[in-house]
């Protein structure tokens, strides 16, 4: 099946080469970071996690969201999603790969990564995150690949594939729950210390991931002979709408608890994010951009006309991606470190090398995604022909 990835249009190759260039730039800068240390990033003694871990968090959500096309198909027998399940699973593979890469580029001593396995400490949530992420990667590779192979041969997938698909459903929930626990169990980080962190993570995952998938579906329909299907895409729109409303609802609940209780530690990070604290407010424009796109997305997803019409749905999906990315890929992690344990503000902003390394990781993910989707769609085109 892999050979399908080797035959493509010049546009296909051009895109891959473009991604390879970005990967190359990122890799060279990473080598530099590996040599001199993480001082080339914007991270500091106070904001000790930054862009990398924030991207990781966002992408765990994208990975988990694969379940939003898998679950209706396998559990509710929503046959129409059969066309999309492989895409959801392959997107999950690319997203988990990016997650693992983001963890790796964030480590101070990458060569010692094996210590996590050599000296396992199950009391650390990071230990469990390693297990669920790698397990999820494996499940999606096995299920996606074998289901696609069966589709190519025109046979029904084997029972064990189906069993693994069933396992992958709760597993998807687990990866984002465990990732939320990384943050939600830390004393003294009040912004993260909230029982609703995992539900919030899942809600934002289940709108952002399907929104990305939906946008990719639009591109696929334009560039290939494979049609993901009008109804399928409309259903995705419905899923995005529900999940995004939930996501915003959970966010408002955070605002209520913090500001009605008036507990300073619970308000400080939010104040910093939206208004600035002690004269520092670098993230405020971003957070208001998040608010703007959230409102636009909410309106467009709730009004039936704009949700059902394809071009407006695409705009709404793009708004969802932007809003959730700012919320989770920027505000959530950085906001948790401001103010610091001494109630002082030390601001963080990613550096150019840091962003370029991140772009390199994203490019790697898109490279894998492109190749996997190319294989899947070539086979789907063949089967349809």
């Amino acid at each position: 099946m892999l050979d399908r990835a080797l035959k493509g249009s010049s546009r296909y190759w051009g895109w891959l080469i473009f991604l390879l260039i970005l990967m190359g730039i990122g890799f060279v800068l990473w080598l530099y970071q590996f040599k001199v240390g993480l001082k080339i990033t914007g991270m500091s003694r106070d904001v000790s996690w930054g862009f990398y871990i924030a991207q990781f968090t966002y992408l765990v959500g994208v990975a988990a969201s694969g379940v939003m096309v898998v679950l209706p198909y396998y559990l509710h027998d929503y046959k129409k999603f059969g066309r999309l399940t492989v895409l959801g699973e392959f997107m999950a593979i690319a997203a988990v790969l990016m997650c693992l890469l983001f963890i790796m580029v964030d480590l101070g001593r990458l060569p010692r990564l094996v210590n996590v396995i050599m000296y396992p400490h199950p009391r650390s949530i990071l230990f469990w995150d390693m297990i669920v992420l790698n397990g999820y990667l494996l499940l999606n590779i096995l299920v996606g690949w074998n289901a696609l192979a069966a589709e190519r041969k025109g046979v029904h997938y084997r029972t064990w594939v189906k069993v693994l698909a069933y396992i992958s459903i709760p597993w998807a929930f687990s990866i984002h729950t465990v990732t939320a626990f990384l943050y939600a169990g830390l004393p003294g980080r009040h912004f993260w210390l909230t029982a609703i962190m995992a539900p919030r993570f899942l809600a934002s995952a289940f709108c952002s991931g399907p929104a990305i998938l939906l946008l990719i579906c639009f591109i696929i329909r334009k560039l290939t002979k494979f049609d993901p299907g009008k109804e399928q895409m409309r259903t995705l729109g419905g899923i995005i709408a529900y999940a995004f409303i939930l996501n915003i609802f959970f966010f408002l609940m955070e605002l209520f608890t913090s500001f009605y209780s008036q507990i300073p530690a619970h308000m400080d990070s939010l104040v910093y994010l939206f208004r600035g604290l002690d004269g520092y407010g670098r993230l405020a424009p971003w957070m208001w951009t998040f608010v703007f796109f959230s409102v636009v997305a909410l309106v467009m997803l709730i009004v039936p006309y704009t949700r059902r019409k394809e071009d407006t749905l695409a705009v709404a999906a793009a708004c969802v991606v932007i809003a959730t990315w700012i919320d989770k890929g920027l505000g959530l992690i950085i906001g948790g470190f401001v103010p610091n344990p001494f109630e002082k503000v030390f601001e963080y902003w990613p550096t150019v090398p840091e962003v370029m390394i991140s772009v390199g990781v994203w490019a790697t993910g898109f490279f894998v995604l492109t190749v996997l989707f190319k294989i899947a769609i070539s086979i789907k085109e063949e089967v349809a022909a």
Binding site: S44, S48, D106, R189, K344
Partner: protein
């Protein structure tokens, strides 16, 4: 035969590992008391420190910091982004932000509090570490294993006291003009780029029956300003001091049970 055979060595290694797992030193089993008898060893059950704020001055803190960082080869960066701190001074409103109010007494406002790792009895940093590179010893010291740390910085997110520093760059490449003669102590290692570090209660000095560097320095400047001892021993100086005076600890509401006490009155 001189020395030990490989087989014998492995036997010792295996036994030590086994005994460590059972919470007993391998040496004790092999030659009961013999090794310990020949060397000075201080055994504590719960090491802690009481800092008498009536005696501590900013100068004392500055000197403590200097000698601690000098002793442990902690480089100076003069840059809050990458700085490494084992012990340092902080004003009341930053050391005890939850206790701060507008009408805090002038005396308290004028004080500088020496801050260091609290060696918590319930340390979140140890809970979150994925490799056990930071863990709590039986005597309460929250220890660092710089051979094992992978630099994930989860412990820094977990510590509510900002007691942990990361080596964002190679400590040996710290600005030369700020670090004359670095590394300053030939008997202590430096760290390498990419690991987390913090105060280890001078465990290597305690093992020899010496006091932590900061305690020694502070008491040199002002007698009994830093009191170090075993909380498990009711007759220890620290227990006596805590019995007699009113003391506070940082962020007790988080349930970490810090073991650094600040005597106020």
């Amino acid at each position: 035969m001189m020395g030990i055979s490989r087989r014998g060595f492995l036997k010792v290694a295996g036994l030590s590992a086994l005994m460590a797992a059972l919470g007993k030193s391998g040496f004790e089993l092999l030659r009961p008391g013999q090794v310990e008898a020949s060397i000075p060893v201080t055994k504590g059950k719960r090491w802690a420190m009481a800092i008498d704020m009536r005696k501590v001055t900013p100068e004392i803190i500055e000197e403590c910091k200097k000698s601690c960082h000098h002793y442990h080869n902690v480089p100076e960066f003069d840059n809050p982004k990458v700085e490494i701190k084992w012990i340092w001074g902080e004003e009341f409103e930053h050391a005890f932000p939850d206790q701060q109010h507008e009408y805090v007494s002038d005396l308290i406002k004028s004080l500088e509090f020496p801050l260091l790792c609290n060696h918590c009895s319930n340390p979140p940093c140890c809970r979150v570490c994925p490799t056990g590179a930071t863990w709590q010893r039986e005597d309460g010291i929250v220890m660092m294993d710089w051979h094992r740390c992978i630099g994930c910085r989860f412990c820094m997110a977990g510590c509510p006291y900002g007691s942990r520093s990361f080596n964002w760059g190679d400590p040996r490449k710290a600005p030369k003009e700020l670090n004359p003669g670095f590394p300053t102590n030939p008997e202590f290692p430096t760290r390498e780029v990419g690991v987390v570090e913090k105060c280890t209660f001078c465990n290597e000095r305690i093992a020899k029956g010496q006091l932590p560097v900061c305690v020694e320095k502070a008491n040199e400047m002002k007698k009994d300003s830093f009191i170090f001892g075993d909380l498990a021993d009711p007759d220890s100086d620290i227990r006596k001091a805590l019995r007699k005076h009113y003391s506070i600890r940082r962020k007790t509401e988080l349930g970490t049970h810090p073991n650094i006490y600040y005597i106020i009155a």
